[in-house]
Amino acid sequence: MSNIFAIIAPRLLGPALVIGIALIVRSYVSVGDGFSAGVIVATAIALRYVSLGWRLAERSLPILRHAPIVAGAGLLLALATGFAGLLVGDPPFTLYPRAGEPVIHIGTLELISAVAFDVGVFLLVTGSLVVVVHHLARLAEDPT
């Protein structure tokens, strides 16, 4: 494996995370959504697996071991966002604030529940893809 790849690949995760967050935060006003963000972050993680091997990759970033939980949490978050409306008597997948209601701003950040849904999708996609990469990597290194 070339040196350039070995040096660059592990360092791509930071930029990928920044891009991912940017995509989610800006998703409602410009290109990108939780799915793309998830795949980008997962690709960066996959490159770590390829360059470091699964043992080192997971030892240096222990959160990777919890990928199934991350994926499950993402699904739960998306479900919770989607069905939260039931608690106040709205139909499911009513997103807040509703049409015509004012949006709460923190600086230039707009708080809308669709972003929570997108974060759920992001976590689920990242977690699922890391699970698949983990299994492929383990199988590749010690086939049992």
């Binding site: 998703s27 409602y28 699904l75 139909p91 997948f93 669709a114 699970v131 698949v132 199988l139």
Partner: protein, 758 residues
């Protein structure tokens, strides 16, 4: 690497995991206790109801009502649940020890038990047919994991599958019935349907379909065969499943939709026939069994036959009798199952022929189960007496034939239940009995006390039954069971049943050949045999399809693409094509797109031509990136972004998977196939080309969904249409899609690593 507790084996902190498992057991007991207390309080307070719109456009509502019927089954599920869970807290550690499994496996047991109870309570309160279907299936799922709890044993797995298939497949009939009723009357709500429904073929078919699902769940002939096999489950599961949960769910549904069933007398007559057939078949087969839990399982089939008969009879008295019957049976049957479990645990024997004379070794258990058996046999001073009193009263009302059959049914019950009790506790001592923990005896005693209290003070139970019957009957029901010391028909029938049952019991020489022949006939032509044949046939068919699918991917692709291509060609021959193909103009501004498309075309040709593995994959990714660039040029940045990230990931996965394949030796292509492949590819390609060209030649019409969505996007507080569509307009679709994604990933992961999730 942290290991999950499964892989850790017995070395990893057995004490901690056993304590955790014990804690879980008592947590389940606490949940059942609290649920029982709440149910009791709500019932005494006069009920409660929740009604939320669930999917209003489909007419689905979260309509839960804690009415009389809901109270009866909720109290049964939580009350018997409480007792059974206490028993299970003592039983499960011993069971796991016997099966050589770690004590920590309790965590695979209790959550399902609690879910089982929760689903039952939900079903008890549900008044919306689709909601009922959901809870109905939830009980089936929970029972699948509980019956198959000893998953190392093949019998347990087969039994769990059988229960799931028989009750789950029949449950589809319930959904069909619900949809039929919705199509006819525009609602899924049972009370509304009861107001709107009128006699007619559609109503009859729909209610009969729902009844079929309920009857399969209640293990009625001819769909009864799953229940005796379900005794593979650990005893607490059997005790619960037979008395208050799974099997009771069927008659609960019958009780809930009875106003609909009663519209057509043919449906009620059908119930009558199925009920009596189940009473007789269950009773005779119970007399033929040797294993304790089998006797009780066939007895359950027979006992729920009584309830089905009562629903078939219909009317005020029968509705009350059915409700009281469910209470009395639940108490007695769970006590008897727990007795069987304790006896098996103590002696290690599960056959009547190897047991006997245990009354001296276990006097407490003998006394408690005597009361339970007396309850089932409807002796006075137990709550069971009143269940038969009302049963006989309802049967007499219907006519002499039904009355006579009722006496025969009760006589069979008397015979098999005393054969069970006497066989275990009386006569010659045949086996050693080791001491058992108090937790395996006390719950039986508690239920026996309840049965006797019910025999002395029937009012509260009668009130509960009357409340439930009010829902079944559709009007308030007056129920006054009591002891009458006179020669009324109910008393005469009870005496006749006891006498007849005693005769059957005391004449084994006459009884045995008859029941043995019935059992043999059942094995030869019974529905269980058909189930086996059907299952094997389906399995073989699936194997064959699978084999033909995996043998050659190209064949499967061709099987889809070729007919599509031919059909499209025929379509074009049949329709005028004039004006549908527009050749646009190419300007200098389109140059980037033309170059990119040329690159894509070249990559496509490389994919098709190249041998080996890696190069076609790389060429495919070039094709994908080129198309992504085309999207970007055409002003669809969202699609372009998704295309790029997906293409990157796919290439990585492709390379990862291909690195696992054995190296290529010789040529990958079989020589004879080449011509066929090219022909299939050309046909498919040309047809796709023709269709897409035609589609692109049409100018989009003014009003479309996409225009509407673009118009609405600002009101969703967004400006990126694609994201707003994904997260808001089509949020439910996205939800379902990501759920499917997670399920697929779990599947892939377990295939890759043989069932380990990490």
């Amino acid at each position: 690497m942290p290991q999950s507790a499964d892989d850790a084996g017995p070395l990893a902190l057995p004490d901690a995991s056993a304590a955790w498992s014990r804690l879980l057991a008592w947590a389940a007991v606490a949940i059942a206790g609290v649920a029982f207390a709440i149910s009791l309080a709500v019932w005494l307070a006069g009920g409660a109801a929740v009604d939320l719109p669930w999917a209003p456009s489909l007419g689905l509502r979260l309509d839960l009502s804690f009415d009389g019927l809901g109270a009866l089954y909720a109290l049964l599920a939580t009350g018997i649940g409480l007792v059974v869970f206490v028993y299970g807290a003592g039983y499960l550690p011993l069971h796991l020890h016997h099966e050589h499994r770690p004590a920590s496996d309790g965590r695979r047991f209790w959550p399902w038990m609690v879910l089982f109870m929760g689903a039952m309570v939900g079903l008890a309160c549900a008044r919306d047919l689709v909601l009922m279907f959901v809870f109905f299936d939830l009980t089936a799922v929970a029972s699948y994991f509980l019956i198959g709890f000893d998953r190392e044993r093949r019998d347990a797995r087969g039994a769990a599958l059988m229960a799931l298939l028989v009750t789950g497949v029949s449950a589809v009939a319930m959904l069909m019935g619900a949809v039929l009723l919705y199509a006819e009357y525009g609602t899924f709500s049972v009370p509304l349907l009861a107001e709107r429904a009128v006699p007619g073929t559609a109503t009859t078919i729909a209610t009969a379909l729902i009844a079929v699902a309920a009857l399969a769940k209640s293990a009625q002939v001819p769909l009864h065969f799953w229940l005796p096999r379900a005794m593979e489950a650990p005893t607490p599961v059997s005790a619960y499943l037979h008395s208050a949960a799974m099997v009771a769910a069927g008659v609960l549904v019958l009780g809930r939709i009875h106003p609909l069933l009663a519209i057509d007398p043919v449906v009620l007559d059908g119930l009558l026939v199925v009920g009596f057939a189940s009473i007789v078949a269950g009773g005779l087969l119970a007399l033929a069994q040797d294993r304790l839990k089998q006797i009780l399982a066939y007895s359950t089939i027979s006992q729920y036959g009584y309830v089905v008969v009562l629903y078939g009879v219909g009317g005020e008295v029968a509705a009350g009798a059915a409700a009281l019957y469910v209470i009395a049976h639940g108490i007695a049957k769970s006590a008897l199952f727990m007795t069987a479990g304790t006896v098996i645990m103590s002696t290690g024997e599960d056959r009547l022929s190897c047991l006997g004379g245990l009354a001296r070794a276990m006097p407490g258990l003998a006394l408690a189960s005597f009361v339970a058996a007396a309850t089932l046999a409807a002796l006075p001073l137990t709550i069971g007496f009143f269940k038969d009193e009302l049963f006989f009263a309802a049967a007499v009302e219907r006519g002499p034939v039904v009355g006579a059959l009722a006496v025969v049914a009760a006589a069979l019950t008397v015979a098999y239940i005393w054969r069970f009790w006497l066989g275990v506790f009386a006569g010659q001592r045949r086996s050693q009995a080791t001491a058992v923990p108090a937790l395996l005896v006390v719950p039986v005693g508690v239920l026996a006390v309840v049965a006797v209290v019910g025999g002395l003070l029937i009012e509260p139970f009668a009130r509960l039954a009357a409340d439930a019957a009010g829902i079944t009957f559709g009007a308030p029901v007056h129920l006054a069971p009591a002891y009458h010391l006179d020669a009324r028909p109910e008393n005469a029938m009870a005496l006749a049943a006891w006498l007849l049952g005693g005769l059957v019991l005391l004449a084994p020489a006459v009884r045995e050949p008859v029941v043995r022949r019935v059992a043999r006939a059942g094995e030869l032509v019974g529905p269980r045999r058909w189930y086996g044949l059907l299952l094997r046939g389906v399995s073989r068919m699936s194997d064959r399809i699978h084999a033909s699918e995996v043998r050659d991917l190209r064949n499967s692709l061709a099987a889809v693409l070729l007919p599509t291509g031919v059909l499209v060609a025929l379509g074009f021959l049949a329709t005028p094509t004039e004006g549908s193909y527009v050749v646009g103009t190419v300007t200098a501004g389109d140059l980037p797109m033309v170059v990119l498309l040329a690159l894509a075309a070249a990559a496509a040709i490389t994919v098709a031509r190249d041998v080996g593995r890696l190069r076609p994959v790389l060429a495919l990714s070039v094709l994908g990136f080129a198309l992504a660039a085309v999207y970007a040029v055409m002003g669809a940045p969202d699609v372009a972004l998704v295309a790029v990230v997906v293409e990157t990931m796919l290439t990585l996965v492709f390379v990862g998977v291909f690195s696992r394949l054995p190296p290529v030796t010789g040529t990958l292509r079989r020589p004879g196939r080449r011509g066929r492949n090219i022909a299939a590819g050309v046909v498919a390609g040309v047809s796709a080309f023709a269709v897409i060209w035609a589609a692109l030649s049409r100018t989009p019409s003014g009003r479309s969904d996409s225009a509407e969505q673009i118009r609405l996007t600002p009101s969703a507080h967004g400006s990126d249409v694609v994201t707003v569509i994904l997260a808001d307009f089509r949020g439910l679709d996205t939800m379902v899609e990501i759920t499917v994604l997670l399920v697929a990933v779990i599947g892939v992961a377990s295939l890759l690593r043989r069932g380990r999730s990490w």
